[in-house]
Symmetry: C2
Subunit: 241 residues, 2 copies
């Protein structure tokens, strides 16, 4: 959705072109929310933030406004601004959207034929295989993101990528993916599914690529829900609904 200058943060940690104070505050807050450093429910007082950042209320206020439209915070007029957590239902809805968008991306990528992203995907899988073999979950989580981002980029549809980005921000996916990958055997299966997707993409099988990608997203959703169900997650705060 946004064509703003700081919108690229969710995909890659770029050196932050926007030199404006507002962009800096937005990126900083978004990063802390997505990473979980700022837990859901945390109060984000304009005055406190402005003092913490050493700027005035105005850019902080504008940053919070934008984060609200991105779905990351909830502004209650005259009451306060709080980090928002998706409810159980919202998470399900978000995963339905994720399945939809990523499936479409896989199809589009397959239909495009030979593009540079295919090589990058192959390289990504090679590195991811190594990470799984090493049991390096941290690194594998990073490569999972890279894989999905590459598919999205390879779809060559800016609007699709925009919607996907806002979606992932709302999911705070970086925080969640570790949870789902903690399921025993999940990394291995996940990686296998990635291979399958790329295989079908290379075969220019759009239907198959979309189908397998969607199944992959559903599987990851299930893995996440299984991890979340037994009221586990010792540190992660609950969604208040």
């Amino acid at each position: 959705m946004p064509d703003t200058r700081d919108a690229g943060q969710a995909f890659r940690k770029q050196p932050l072109r926007g030199t404006s104070v507002r962009s800096r505050v937005i990126s900083e807050l978004r990063g802390r929310i997505i990473s979980g450093e700022l837990a859901p429910g945390t109060s984000l007082s304009e005055i406190v933030l402005s003092e913490a950042f050493g700027v005035s209320r105005t850019p902080v206020r504008e940053a919070l406004k934008q984060l609200q439209t991105e779905g990351l915070v909830n502004i209650r007029p005259r009451v306060g601004t709080f980090v928002s957590a998706p409810s159980r239902r919202e998470i399900t809805e978000l995963f339905q959207m994720k399945e939809l968008l990523e499936g479409a991306a896989a199809r589009l990528l397959a239909q495009r034929g030979r593009v540079p992203e295919l090589e990058e995907l192959a390289d990504n899988l090679a590195r991811a295989d190594a990470a799984v073999a090493d049991g390096d979950q941290e690194r594998y989580a990073e490569l999972v993101h890279e894989f999905h981002d590459l598919v999205m980029r390879g779809a060559d549809n800016a609007k699709l990528a925009d919607h996907y980005r806002t979606l992932m921000n709302q999911l705070a996916y970086h925080r969640l993916v570790h949870t789902s990958l903690s399921q025993p055997g999940r990394p291995t299966r996940s990686e296998s599914e990635h291979h399958h997707v790329l295989e079908l993409v290379r075969a220019k099988d759009g239907d198959g690529a979309e189908r397998v990608m969607r199944e992959h997203v559903r599987a990851s959703h299930r893995a996440l829900m299984d991890s979340l169900d037994p009221q586990a997650s010792p540190t992660a705060p609950r969604a208040a609904d």
Copy 2:
């Protein structure tokens, strides 16, 4: 060509109590942009708008910021804010997204079984049939929106509806739909496609509903492009007035 560069004329001050000034400004501007009243490229100066609305720059500024994240305006720092128009490529991308989201909505609606929206859709089609028979294009365009909104609402997925709404805003669809409906015979075919969709939804045929809905969106896209093709001039199309 008519120069509509200046937007600051005669904004009437609606009371609209109970809501913040910012919300009022956002709604007003958004409405004028998607209706085409504010043509693409029009300059939206903060100071001019604030005087026109009789408020200070702050809420105007915040409104413009939000409209930027919605993709309706383009803010060039220290230069100015301008109503943005989607490029040809963006329109294609947006229709790809429209096809995707509406197809998914049709599928979800079909899978839900009996819901109140089905009755509303039937009622909508009855009224739309009458509008087509009367040749009342204005009224039919309105009912087309209602149809698609009903399908979206019936899908019962708030996130899907959110993304759809921003999508339609970016498309300025209200402006475009008149153009595509001006194609001879298009209203009749469009209405027939709507009937087909509802038929499959009632039959709980999710696959079929999605497929037909996607074909319907593609057809409407083609109709629009055919209408747009002869006149390569980017100046404001007069179809709406």
